[in-house]
Amino acid sequence: MVDNPINIEVKDLNVWFKDIHALKGINLRIYKNEILSIIGPANSGKTSFLRTLNRLNDLTDGFRMTGKVIFDGKDIYSKDIDVNLLRIKIGMVFALPIPLPFSIFDNVAYGLQGRIKNNKEINQRVEKALKSAYLWEEVKDRLKESAYKLSGGQQQRLCIARTLALEPQVILFDEPCSGLDPISTAKIEEAMIRLKNDYTIILVTNNTKQAARVSDRTAFFLSGELIETDITNKIFTASMDKRTEDYITGRFG
């Protein structure tokens, strides 16, 4: 993985929410077509880190940051960045499935409408995205139904499809399986592993086994600090830092 080109480079990142120092001096490289998982106890800054990468923190009251996030050769926090374009290139799937109050089809097409004029192309993209999220077979006959009629696991795959429809380069997953049963979880993990061929994936998970199953590299966050990053195998068998080992073996957190 480390041989792949760098996709995102985070340099000396510090993040504050009012007076809470949520991320402290993070340096991290994310390579093309890898799955990087981020593990760590509650409040260690995992979500804050993801939301820094697609600039969703901009909306949060009291958000401040220093440091750089280089993507596509540019600092995403420099003035001439089109934030909306950035968010298309770096998509995000939230912890809980949040379908918009539209039909299944309109949920997936939502990000495309207005951007793509050709209806036929929208239809094709929606179908492709639903197939990539392994949802197409289950919904192809009921695309006009409300998205809320789907089960929780289906809703989360719908949310993944919604992000995929925009054909991003990077997808941020924030504990995408936290509310799901094992079978739905397995389906989403399967989807992620396939998606790796075309996308770079950053997966925040509170399930260390999941990190071990799907990711190429793993980063361990603790109290806003990045303790270590390494090939997933190494982290789980021979981590350098005692705290990482303690967390993985369940001795704290």
């Binding site: 909306l59 909306n84 998509g91 939230f94 809980l96 109050p101 939502y110 409300s146 992000t163 925009l166």
Partner: protein
Amino acid sequence: MKPHTKQRIAFSFLFLCTLLVILPVGLILIIIIKNGLPALSWQFLTDIPRAGMREGGIFPAIIGTFYLVLGAIIFALPIGVMCAIYLNEYTKENIFSRLIRLAIINLAGIPSVVYGLFGMALFVMFFKFGTSILSGALTLGIMILPVIITSTQEALRSVPKEFREVSFSLGISKWQTIKRVVLPCAFPGIITGAILGIGRAAGETAPLLFTVAAFYLPRLPRSIFDQVMAIPYHLYVISTQIPNIPEKIRYGTALVLVILVLGINLFAIILRIKLRRKQRW
């Protein structure tokens, strides 16, 4: 005293208080319906007032109220909704936005006769609209602005913040997000607020006193610069200014007004329940 007895006394007392609230409402309705019903007829609703308003109907007043309310809502709804969007979606909590909020709350508490005076000064005299439908509708519009702003804000606040974040995360701009997600979700609440505003505007007399209301004008208006009659003002006129008015004409007019306002409010409530039931998140 046994706890059981105490409880019964407390219960009876609370029940009595509740009764005291319901009683006047019931009595008002009963008296108005009893005295007004005999006057109600097709002719009463569609005829012009005759014989010095002692006979005939109240058609011009009904039409006048209709125009005034329509004008008020056409003016107040877009402005109120835009204002609420600005306050709720575009400003962060700071001293300025708190000041605006405070102003809106105070605006809602201003006596309606003051609005009438203000409308006269601004629309009738300064803008030279004269005493006209336009002046009256604008005055009513300003009066119901707080209702519309507060109800729209409440409706916007009830839209989950997550919807906005999802939309932003898909690269959709703020304005597009508001247009495509937030407003459709807030629609039931906004519409209910608008209808409640209409109900309020339909029942007010004081704002019309100096801005539009005609004492007696048994023809229909030809333009927005015409005067009109209006039901609440007509009721005031026939109750206080004209001797020997048959009781049933007064109560008939009151009944029409009450049915109109209660009907509008009831419609708003039913609509809200219907629309709420349709949306799920």
